[in-house]
């Protein structure tokens, strides 16, 4: 990098941004309040809230709500903006099972099921096991660490884990080294072989996110009253029975919350696939397909249709979330 231009142009920009942006934001609210105070007493309570929520509502509307509506419209149009009805959808959903977006849809289903289940299972197992050892916080940090790194770095890490050399040569990738060295089987081309690559990629993603599930489930586990577990044990219940009959049912609400979050993550999956295969070798997912349609094919109508398919998959989760939220609010 060029240090001269860095010091003369970029560093000042950064300083201006760090000082200026907060100044503008604070200035907005102070000036706004100043104006509100000029208003008659009766008008203030009805104006003030909009001053405070205004910017947020503007950004959410401008970047999420309105674009979502426009995308719904674009999905019914050609890239030039002419109305074409459901042509884009027909093209994306035609030629079942291998044409259009079907490979991506199939893979998103794999993600949805395997990613969610494995993360929940690992998260639960780790939370329960770690709860019983004194060095809990240390092992938790280590499991949680992948959460801090980017999916891009995660993709690089796992490409390297899945590195392949032809049979007979020294395997430098960890997974294939274990396969050939310990299990005495042939190495696999994890990333390119369509029989296994989706599972390999999902496995990498599971590794990255398990810490998230573990931390939340572990907090829920700590919330279970100790005397309840003690009572079950005194009644002669074995550890497995205690888990199945006491711990698991009490943790069910948290498992559901984590599960719905993971379902949304699975549907939106992009980075890991983009880095590991670019969606090639039958590993495409909807988010990546949309990106490719938009940038490499310039097919805005098709990209919008794929995004709408994604939304259709999210809507049940969204409704479920809103119901849960209102139930929680009602109890407040």
């Amino acid at each position: 990098m060029n240090w001269g231009s860095f010091l003369t142009t970029q560093l000042p920009t950064l300083v201006v941004v760090i000082v200026g942006v907060p100044a503008v934001i604070v200035g907005y609210i102070v000036a706004g309040e100043f104006l509100v105070r000029r208003l008659p007493d009766a008008a203030r309570p009805s104006v003030r809230p909009w001053l405070w929520v205004g910017p947020a509502l503007f950004f959410v509307a401008a970047f999420l709500v309105v674009p979502a509506i426009l995308t719904a419209k674009a999905s019914l149009e050609t890239s030039k903006g002419d109305f074409t009805g459901l042509t884009n959808y027909a093209r994306q959903l035609g030629d079942f099972p291998s044409g259009g977006a079907w490979i991506a849809i199939r893979n998103n289903v794999y993600w949805l099921v395997l990613y969610t289940l494995f993360v929940l299972a690992f998260g639960l197992i780790l939370a329960v096991l770690f709860d019983r050892v004194r060095y809990e916080s240390l092992v938790k940090s280590l499991i949680f660490m992948p959460m801090a790194i980017s999916s891009v770095a995660l993709g690089v890490i796992w490409k390297f884990m899945y590195w392949y050399q032809p049979p007979g040569q020294i395997q430098t990738g960890t997974v294939n080294a274990i396969l050939t060295g310990l299990l005495r089987t042939d190495p696999r081309i994890w990333i390119q072989d369509p029989k296994v690559n989706n599972f390999a990629i999902i496995g990498a993603a599971v590794w990255g996110i398990t810490g998230f599930a573990m931390v939340i489930l572990s907090a829920a586990l700590k919330g279970i009253p100790a005397d309840l577990l003690e009572a079950a044990r005194v009644d002669g219940a074995g550890e497995l029975t205690v888990f199945r009959r006491v711990i698991f049912p009490l943790m069910m609400p948290t498992v559901v919350v984590v599960g719905t979050t993971l379902v949304i993550f699975a549907l939106k999956a992009f980075d890991v696939v983009y880095v590991m295969t670019g969606g090639n070798y039958d590993t495409d997912v909807l988010a990546n397909r949309m990106y490719k349609l938009l940038y490499f094919s310039g097919n805005t109508g098709g990209a919008a249709a794929v995004a709408m398919i994604l939304l259709a998959a999210v809507i049940p989760v969204l409704i479920f979330n809103l119901r849960q939220f209102r139930a929680v609010e009602a109890r407040r």
């Binding site: 604070v26 910017p55 970047f63 019983r132 980017s150 690089v156 549907l267 949309m290 999210v314 979330n321």
Partner: protein, 307 residues
């Protein structure tokens, strides 16, 4: 987080020494520790592998697994780092990541704090429904917004190629829009839990809304704000998709994630360099994570108690 760890499996202590019960308790303890340590070890293998590899010379990387480097004779080198930092624009990208992440963290959180305050302590028409709407927006895939927002930006010249004085403006605005629902949600939950007596006594003392917000609400909310800042910062630092869409891959503006993703495609045979680049990109998140983990975890817990 470590309160209830101490004496959960309490029945073990009561069995007499060397009785069958004592032996089976001991055995299950051993199995437990083996399982815990084994699983944790398995979990750090991928990270350890890339860390070790990034310090190995190329000739070794291509002929033996990284684990062989852990036995003598040791041969480690920083060649991979100096080569990849010298030949790619990782240094520039590192700076760009800061340029994107810092405003992308400050702007949405400041705006969200105002909104969250209004949602939790002001009464206005449609308040609860609007808040419900924001909770619903949390689940909308960002992908849905790319086509319209990008075409709007392009049509009005708000692109990083066009704005040489503020090449990151589009991505700041985008991260503001995308980060707001979660930030509002988390902060409103926190603000609402503050005791209402605080506000009443402040009002009796004649304090204005601004004073209450800046002098009472914000200082009391430092833990929530801290976890949100860490969350949003790491999210943006690690983000690839939004950066690809709104900044693109031009070397002057690409953040670390984009540059690293480009390297994975271009460095087909230079894999040894990629390990160094990947680890380089992880430095800041790891520092943030290791030093501020407590807040990070708290943020996750606060954010996930949603329905």
């Amino acid at each position: 987080m470590s309160i209830a760890v101490a004496d959960r499996p309490g029945t073990a202590a009561t069995a007499a020494r060397f009785s069958p019960r004592w032996i089976s308790d001991r055995l299950s303890k051993v199995v437990l520790h083996v399982a815990v340590i084994g699983l944790t070890a398995a979990w750090i293998v991928p990270t350890a592998g890339i860390l070790v590899t990034s310090f190995r010379p190329f000739s070794k990387i291509s002929t033996s697994g990284w684990w062989t480097a852990l036995a003598p004779s040791f041969s480690f080198t920083v060649d991979n780092y100096s080569k990849v930092l010298g030949s790619s624009n990782l240094g520039q990208s590192f700076f760009n990541s800061f340029m994107i992440s810092i405003p992308g963290t400050i702007i949405p959180i400041a705006i969200a704090a105002f909104a969250a305050y209004a949602f939790s302590w002001m009464k206005f028409w449609g308040r609860d429904w609007i808040f419900l709407g924001i909770v619903g927006v949390l689940a909308i895939p960002l992908q849905l917004s790319f086509v319209p927002v990008l075409s709007f930006f392009v049509a009005h010249g708000i692109t990083s190629a066009n704005l040489s004085w503020a090449p990151f403006l589009p991505v700041w605005l985008a991260h503001t829009g995308y980060g707001l629902p979660f930030s509002i949600y988390l902060l409103a939950n926190f603000f609402r839990a503050l005791p209402s007596d605080l506000f009443e006594s402040a009002e009796i003392d004649g304090a204005g809304t601004l004073t209450v917000f800046f002098r009472i609400v914000l200082p009391l909310s430092v833990p929530a704000l801290a976890s949100l800042v860490i969350f949003q910062f790491l999210w943006i630092w690690n983000d690839l998709l939004v950066a690809l869409i709104y900044v693109g891959g031009a070397p002057e503006v690409a953040p670390l994630t984009v540059t690293l993703a480009n390297l994975t495609n271009s460095l087909g045979q230079g894999y040894h360099l990629l390990t160094a680049a990947a680890f380089f990109s992880m430095i800041i998140p790891l520092i943030v994570f290791l030093s501020l983990q407590r807040y990070f975890v708290r943020g996750i817990l606060a954010g996930s108690v949603k329905g």
